[in-house]
Amino acid sequence: MKIGWLTLLLLLPFVGALATMLVPKAKALVAKQVALAFSLVTLVLTAIVAVGYHQDGAEKYAESHTWIKAFGANYALGLDGVGVVLVVLTALLTPIVIIASWNDADNGRWSSKSFFAWILALEALSIGVFAATDVFLFYVLFEATLIPMYFLIGGFGGAQRSYAAVKFLLYSLLGGLLMLASVVGLYVLSARAGDPSYLLTDLVKLDMSENTERWLFLGFFFAFAVKAPMVPFHTWLPDAAGEATPGTSVLLVGILDKIGTFGMIRFCLGLFPNASEWATPVVLVLALISVLYGALLAIGQTDIKRLIAYTSISHFGFIVMGIFALTSQGLVGSTLYMFNHGLSTAALFLVAGYLISRRGSARIADYGGVEKVAPVLAGTFLFAGLSSLALPGLSPFISEFMVLAGVFSKHKVIAVIAVVGIVLAALYILLMYQRTMTGPVREGIEKLTDLNKREIFAIVPLVVLIIGLGIFPKPVVDIIKPAVESTMQRVGVTDKAPQIPVTEGQK
């Protein structure tokens, strides 16, 4: 049997995880090197796939085998524009996190090799989630990602980590199990129509009554809303991100939470277009609340990691808003936002992690005047913060702008209110910077060392990409656009014709 590209992408990190676990305990360094090597090979392979996708299209990568015939489940992988972007993000962030967390797990409850093995396992499962074109396979991998993340949070982190891990797991399971009910419902519909099949291509042909579609939609949407997370199902995120190591937080917010917004595009819009349109008003209001509430709470935080977690809730509000605006501009913007948010939040979490590991405290009040002692650290922190608040010229700006523009063309009031979120973003980032980095050097800060080479090495790719995509986002947008257009067709909505003609190239 020929092994497909995507299967290879999925297997490689798995093999890496096993290999990492097999390294003897005494040779912790070798285990880390093995993990890094596997993640880098995966990255190279992903790059080849992404370039190939750009040139030859998606057909080359689709694979499908019957898995459980009685359930209609298939082992089916494939790519679309949205999937490619997120697979690339996953493959990119994993080696960065491994480098940045090189010493983070050394004094944990468990051996450090298990930390890196769980990271690789998570990478494999996440790639599978973004590539699955069968609902059953997607669900299985979606739930399976909880296990590595649960052990990453619970095994390596702050004092309250076990509480945070359980809270994370239970919230996710609540969403996941309700989704299971919807997944089972899809099976029943599919079996009534003929031979049961979970392939997305078969499911889109199903006829559903209005009520059925709405109920099934709600099951899926709830799971994704918990995952994303949207207010009011967000309270697990600050706890989890606050207790986990910075590397884990990056994987959690940067990759795992994207499954929620990814799922909204692929499954909510893709399978239940009418119900999605029906739910738009409520979802948009919830997203708006997420934007504002997340930002307001971020301003009030005293803990750096929790603050960043709340900023993400605000950002995810923007992403969901862009998706459910149901305009192509909003959808492209949201997908781009997912990618850019992964980059900027990764940078912010990692630099904050560097800072916290030096002082041994995550409290904002314990810092002051860091920029005098460790200028490079302060500089990267400011850069990451500015990208998070969507400074023009950096990549998040473009996506945030597109989302707002996309929402504005259909829902003016919501877009106008959402703009307040940008102002609040400036507040929470700059206030945090001011309190920690400027002012007189606080006690305990004098001896703070600046970033070492390894730490800088982990951040540089993020900085380069944030600036690069801020100036020239076209390659990513080109990949996303076709996928968004087919989704828009499926939903059956068209963009409102602009009243003032726009010139080509504004997008």
Binding site: I68, A70, I147, V166, L177, V188
Partner: protein, 529 residues
């Protein structure tokens, strides 16, 4: 109905289908041989010989059942008393497979100073001089092996009974050995005997309900055979009161054995008190036999009145899932926790049962109730015996350390054992890539196919509650500190190792590639009469 007619001179011997009934006969025959061996063999030989007889009988019966399945022979045997149909054969096969694993656990002797987990001399008063002398003389009750064979034979008969009277006899045949086995623990004998007493009294009570129900149904239909009752439902008018009362009473008797709420209260006490290998055997095999018996009676005989009993079963299913999951949270003993978890699992099984997704009732595609239940029972049975096998290995001076607080930090002490137990728990919780998930999926889809989608919603919410207490144990094992007086993890002999390995392998394989077993369960088809 028919008066006393003396048989005329030419007596015709009834035709018995020996070939099809051979698995049953092998098991019962071996049990009798075991009893004789117990009487005549010298003590030193008994353990080995009994184990050999039991294992050979189970394997031979299993192979014969396999042949019957391969031949696709389905018939009603022994003058309509026993129905050797697809579901019955499948059930025989899983019962025999799980009994094989359980017998390995029964035979384990390296955990407790070279002696088995069963009392040396059941008649000796606990704590007495006689008991100490018995232990010093290394006495063992090897009667457990024939008892087990009688129990599994009764279960096989129960799952294939096509006649209410045979059903009742089979129930007693498998219950009586179990009552005995429950009281035979070597450690903590008082609660073991208490468990046996409770189980016996409540079991007798439930049997009485069942018998009364049978009597009423006989009064309604004038026959004991399941097919005859189904025919009477079609033709007979009037007598509904007696029919409904009979249905309700039979349901009580059967749901008691299944361990469904509100007839579950014996489960935690008995599971806790019984010797752990026996608990595993009961939790897996009794549930399987009882469930198939329940389905057979209600689908075959009472299928015509399903609109009368389905609402009652809806309520029982919801209660079982919710109570099982919620009460499990408060448990502090690992065996009691697993007992409540088995109650919750009975609830999940009931959803498929009341889903009534049958090939006959207009459902042409998709998973049927029988298929889903059979498959779920396989996944549940192997994980359950595996989990109880792990429980036997965590010991301190007083025997098994079953209090949950004693399990703190187990992941530090023995990562392998704690990892395996965590895997079983994840399977019980229904996390994907484990057998528990595919099983849950099957029963939920059967329930929904039959239109019982509200039950599916209740089921997923109970699954969440259940997940909470499974995860709590994982947290305890992996994220808590190891106390100084932590119990030891005993190195098991080959018997327990094999049992755990089989349970683990089944849980992994049925989670990843459930296809073949599902196909087999689908081929089992429906009950015949």
């Amino acid at each position: 109905m028919i008066g006393l007619i003396l048989p005329s001179a030419d007596f015709v011997a009834p035709k018995i289908e020996y070939n099809e009934l051979m698995p049953l006969l092998v098991v019962f025959g071996a049990a009798c041989v075991g009893v004789i061996a117990e009487a005549f063999l010298p003590r030193a030989w008994r353990h080995l010989v009994q184990l050999a007889i039991t294992l050979v009988a189970i394997i031979v019966a299993g192979v014969l059942t396999g042949f019957l399945i391969a031949d696709e022979k389905e018939l009603v045997a022994a003058l309509g008393a026993i129905s050797v149909d697809g579901p019955a054969l499948f059930t025989w096969l899983i019962l025999l497979a799980l009994t094989l694993v359980s017998v390995l656990l029964f035979a384990e002797r390296s955990l407790d100073g070279g002696l088995s987990a069963f009392a040396g001399q059941a008649a000796a008063v606990p704590g007495s001089e006689a008991e100490r002398e018995g232990t010093a003389a290394r006495l063992e009750h090897t009667e457990i092996f024939p008892l087990t064979l009688f129990a599994v034979g009764g279960m096989m008969l129960f799952a294939s009974a096509n006649d209410l009277l045979v059903l009742f006899v089979a129930l007693e045949v498998f219950s009586l050995p179990l009552y005995l086995l429950c009281g035979l623990a070597r450690r903590r004998r008082l609660i073991s005997q208490e468990a046996a007493m409770k189980y016996f009294l409540l079991g007798a009570f439930a049997s009485a309900f069942l018998l009364f129900g049978i009597a009423l149904l006989y009064g309604y239909a004038g026959t004991m055979s399941l097919g005859g009752i189904a025919d009477a439902l079609q033709t007979q008018t009037g007598g509904d009161a007696i029919l409904l009362a009979g249905t309700g009473l039979i349901a009580v008797g059967l749901l008691f054995k299944v361990g469904a709420v509100p007839f579950h209260s014996w489960t935690p006490d008995v599971y806790q008190g019984a010797p752990t290998p026996v608990t595993g055997f009961m939790a897996a095999c009794t549930k399987i036999a009882a469930f198939i018996g329940l389905m057979r009676v209600f689908y075959v005989a009472l299928g015509g009145t399903r609109w009368d009993w389905a609402p009652m079963m809806w309520v029982v299913a919801i209660l079982t899932m919710v109570v099982g999951s919620i009460v499990a949270i408060t448990q502090t003993d690992v065996k009691r926790m697993l007992a409540y978890s088995s109650i919750a699992h009975a609830g999940f099984l009931l959803t498929a049962f009341v889903g009534l997704a049958q090939a006959g009732s207009g459902v042409t595609n998709g998973v049927t109730s029988t298929q889903a239940v059979l498959f779920y029972l396989v996944t549940y049975g192997f994980s359950t015996i595996g989990a109880f096998a792990v429980v036997t290995l965590v010991r301190d001076a007083g025997g098994e350390a079953t209090h949950l607080s004693r399990w703190a930090g187990l992941g530090k002490k023995s990562p392998l054992l704690a990892g395996i137990f965590a895997f079983f728990l994840l399977s019980f919780a229904g996390i994907p890539l484990t057998a528990g998930f595919t099983g849950k999926w099957a029963v939920f889809s059967a329930a929904w196919t039959g239109g019982a989608w509200p039950l599916v919603v209740v089921a997923v919410l109970s699954s969440l509650i259940a997940a909470f207490f499974y995860v709590r144990v994982i947290v305890l094992m992996f994220f808590s500190d190891l106390p100084t007086d932590a119990p030891d993890v005993v190195l098991p002999g080959w018997q327990t190792t094999t049992a755990v390995a089989l349970g683990l392998a089944a849980t992994v394989i049925l989670g990843l590639v459930p296809g073949p077993v599902l196909e087999l369960a689908a081929r089992a088809g429906e009950f015949i009469r």
